[in-house]
């Protein structure tokens, strides 16, 4: 036999020879693999794709249920934040119990103002002594609209919006007060029998 062939046989025999403690090593390796697999899934079935099995029909039914709940929630939000089209955008009269609950002489009027990028918008007017901190508007959940609901006595009211504490702005769709007494005009709203005009 050639020397090289003997050398190859010796190596093959050495590889095939059982090693001491091989059974113990195999058990350790299996245990370790099990632990590593659990870590890959962060230990939770909700993030482990292999752990969750669902029937296709059940998946479709779940998806439909989620979409239906989302649509219902969206419709509810839209209804509760809607500005009626027949009223000016700046001043929505809230009819029904809200207005009646104030008293006979005043009505609750909702002011809305769009201020992209603003961090704070306040309403000032003769009804709050033109105090820039008295009536902050609340940012709507979506978009750049800000709103405030204010009980106003019947009559004529001048008002303006203060953006970020310093920039005064009129309501773009409301009637303007004629005189710019202190350099800037105001908007006006009339609260009467017919609502806010």
């Amino acid at each position: 036999m050639h020397d090289d062939d003997r050398w190859d046989d010796a190596i093959r025999e050495a590889y095939q020879r059982p090693m001491a403690g091989e059974e113990y090593a195999r058990e350790r390796a299996i245990a370790r693999l099990g632990r590593e697999r659990a870590r890959d899934g962060h230990g939770g079935w909700w993030l482990n794709p292999d752990a969750l099995r669902i029937r296709p029909l059940l998946a479709v039914a779940s998806l439909i249920a989620v979409l239906a709940i989302g649509a219902w929630g969206g419709a509810w939000w839209m209804a509760s934040h809607r500005v009626p089209e027949h009223l000016p955008r700046h001043a929505e009269l809230t009819d029904g119990p809200t207005a009646a609950a104030v008293n006979d002489d005043s009505l609750t009027v909702t002011f809305m103002f769009r201020a992209p990028g603003a961090s704070r918008v306040c309403l000032v007017g003769d009804f709050n002594d033109w105090d820039p901190n008295a009536t902050p508007l609340r940012r709507a959940a979506l978009g750049d609209a800000w709103t405030a609901r204010v009980p106003l006595r019947r009559g004529l009211h001048a008002y303006a919006f203060v953006i970020d504490g310093s920039d005064w702005a009129t309501d773009p769709l409301a009637p303007l007060a004629p005189a710019a007494t202190f350099g800037r005009r105001n908007s006006v709203v009339v609260v009467g029998e017919g609502g806010a005009l």
Partner: protein, 219 residues
């Protein structure tokens, strides 16, 4: 002393504390927001207006607006005096029975340059109804650049034609839209009036009426 006089005195006694409380509240608001030098001067203007039977709310509000806008004392006092004289002039034009809201709106129109005659003509055109909305529309036209005479004639013609408040407000909105689109304010207001008259009056409005709407438009 008749029973009527006794009743009148009793009512006055009942109402007097409420009036006094209102006066004190106004003075307290002014003292809280104006400088110690300015507050008494403004209060004097307010009390004078009150003695003339004029509404004091717009005067107090004007002073507080000036304070919030950080105007100087001279500008605030000047604005307060103009407001008081505007209210007095509005009452002259609109009559002693004009409501406080009408006087407020009328004073605003007068301060924008509308004449007392125009206000008086509006009162004649609508002797029994409220003039608040016509005055608001008139002031808005002037504020948006419609010449005072054109604005006065437009609102007067619409009021004489019997236009109700919602129709006047629609005319204001349409005119505002046209101005925002770039039309000249005078032309926009005339077009707004023409549109209103075509809906308000049974017969279609003549083109000459739009050019000078103050004439020949009595319903």
């Amino acid at each position: 002393m008749s029973r009527l006089h006794v009743l009148g005195c009793a009512c006055l006694l009942l109402v007097a504390p409420a009036i006094a409380r209102g006066t004190e509240a106004e003075e307290a608001r002014l003292h809280a927001r104006l400088s110690p030098e300015l507050a008494p001067q403004v209060i004097e203007v307010v009390r004078t207006a009150e003695s003339q039977g004029l509404p004091t709310g717009p005067i107090v509000a004007r002073a507080l607006e000036g304070a919030s806008r950080q105007a100087n004392a001279a500008a605030i006092l000047e604005a307060v005096r103009r407001e008081a004289s505007g209210l007095a002039a509005a009452r002259r034009a609109l009559g002693p029975n004009a409501s406080a809201t009408e006087l407020d709106a009328g004073a605003g129109a007068l301060m924008a340059g509308v004449s007392e005659d125009s206000l008086a003509n509006l009162k004649k055109a609508r002797p029994n109804g409220s003039l608040v909305i016509p005055l608001i529309v008139l002031s808005d036209f002037v504020a948006r650049g419609v010449p005072v005479n054109d604005a006065s004639n437009t609102v007067l013609a619409a009021t004489r034609a019997g236009a109700a408040d919602p129709a006047l407000l629609r005319m204001r909105e349409r005119t505002n839209e046209r101005i925002l689109r770039g039309e000249l304010p005078a032309g926009a207001s005339r077009e707004g009036l023409r549109e209103l008259l075509s809906k308000t009056v049974q017969a279609p409005a003549k083109p000459s009426g739009a050019a000078n709407p103050a004439e020949g438009r009595r319903p």
